[in-house]
Symmetry: C2
Subunit: 240 residues, 2 copies
């Protein structure tokens, strides 16, 4: 039983220049793991149309789902929607449903629904809107690409709107064991253990804690019974 696969595309100069520390990747990774969708790859590209179009084409051809963050606001550097239209070879224009949401929102808050704000109603032809309960301007799904905002509070809200509509697989379960020995001592028996459980993935994440070396051993899989059995085995190896 294979789970759906996914990639994420983070769009924005501010991540690549080191100005902003990305938060959306970490959030989405956890949400997809819970939903049983396997995040296989993340790419970060700048606000550069050819780079965005190439990444969208490559990722949407490879994975079940692609989730993007960033570049759908009202300013000149917000070019994601146009790039998605280009990648899918469809037209893009201000769409009535999106414009309606925005004009009502700005009317109620006394702000002008000007040309810049109308840019946020530009939706590629054939896309479905993703609800934005935080700041109204919608995301959208075009083909297998889900386009969301970069502001973390808005991204999080859009993921919450979107994920229940997608078909997930079996959630990936994980268990961990802390071992206070250096990875060099752990590696041999851990490798033998991993070979005995081919349906589980086994990772070792080293730490240093007040000069003491150790590792958190993380075992992941979809079947709780196999996972429980393996953890008894692992405990006997390292704490037996």
């Amino acid at each position: 039983m294979n789970n759906p696969t996914a990639a994420m595309l983070v769009i924005g100069d501010e991540i690549l220049s080191g100005r902003t520390r990305d938060a959306n990747m970490y959030h989405l990774a956890g949400q997809l793991t819970s939903a049983g969708i396997d995040l296989k790859e993340v790419r970060v590209v700048s606000d550069d149309a050819p780079a965005i179009v190439a990444a969208v084409k490559a990722l949407s051809a490879t994975y079940t789902h692609v989730f993007t963050s960033g570049g759908i606001g009202p300013t000149h550097d917000d070019i994601t929607a146009d790039c998605i239209a280009e990648a899918f070879g469809v037209s893009i224009d201000v769409r009535a449903d999106a414009a309606g949401l925005l004009s009502a929102h700005y009317a109620s808050s006394g702000k002008e629904f000007n040309a810049a704000r109308q840019r946020m109603a530009r939706i590629p032809d054939g896309a479905m809107l993703i609800d934005n309960p935080v700041s109204v301007a919608p995301g959208f799904t075009m083909g297998n690409v889900h386009v969301m905002a970069g502001v973390p509070s808005v991204f999080t809200a859009m993921v919450a709107s979107l994920l229940p509509t997608l078909t997930g697989g079996a959630p990936l379960l994980s268990r961990s064991l802390r071992v206070e020995r250096g990875e060099g001592d752990i590696a041999g028996p851990l490798g033998d253990f991993a070979a005995r459980y081919p349906t589980l993935s086994v990772g070792s994440y080293p730490f240093q804690d007040n000069g003491m070396y150790g590792a958190n051993l993380v075992v992941r899989g979809q079947d709780a019974g196999t996972l429980d059995e393996a953890m008894v085995d692992l405990g006997a190896i390292f704490h037996g």
Copy 2:
């Protein structure tokens, strides 16, 4: 004058599963910006040999430098060095210089230099070692690919060892202006401003602060004089 370009490749299931929040991308992005090396793309892939090999080939063919993090420890899931050798079509084996560093280190700390630890001395043929002042096991540079550890304290130390040896360009300078108006009001004049300064990059990063909408406008470029002139102009537009 074009700066050298760079990509980063983050290797590890723990990032894609949401278990660990990546710190190395943010660190490297800031360091490269200061060094005048333009980070153009980041990819994150899992501990999967075909995915790592394909990403190394694609990125090393496209950018001046590639920086990797993760997968060079002693455990079974540490496969980065073998993947680099495969991507470059060279052999890999335990190398005397790396083994010498490690055996001296373990001898002095009373630990066995066992088969797992010897894995950390496997270096692709023709690579140069990168110093690791934290935990001795070295990184390496193969062609234009710089291979470093995933543990943040070790990654940071390796970047500090490596970066002074690379030829950078003009550091990217940045200035910012906080504007307490919604992006939809800012966008029109900001787009006109950006068009007047084609050698500068102009970004708008929105925020909400106690219900107030605003944006940090960030202007980046290599020439301090142009940047200063532009910031006077920008101040007159939004705070004049």
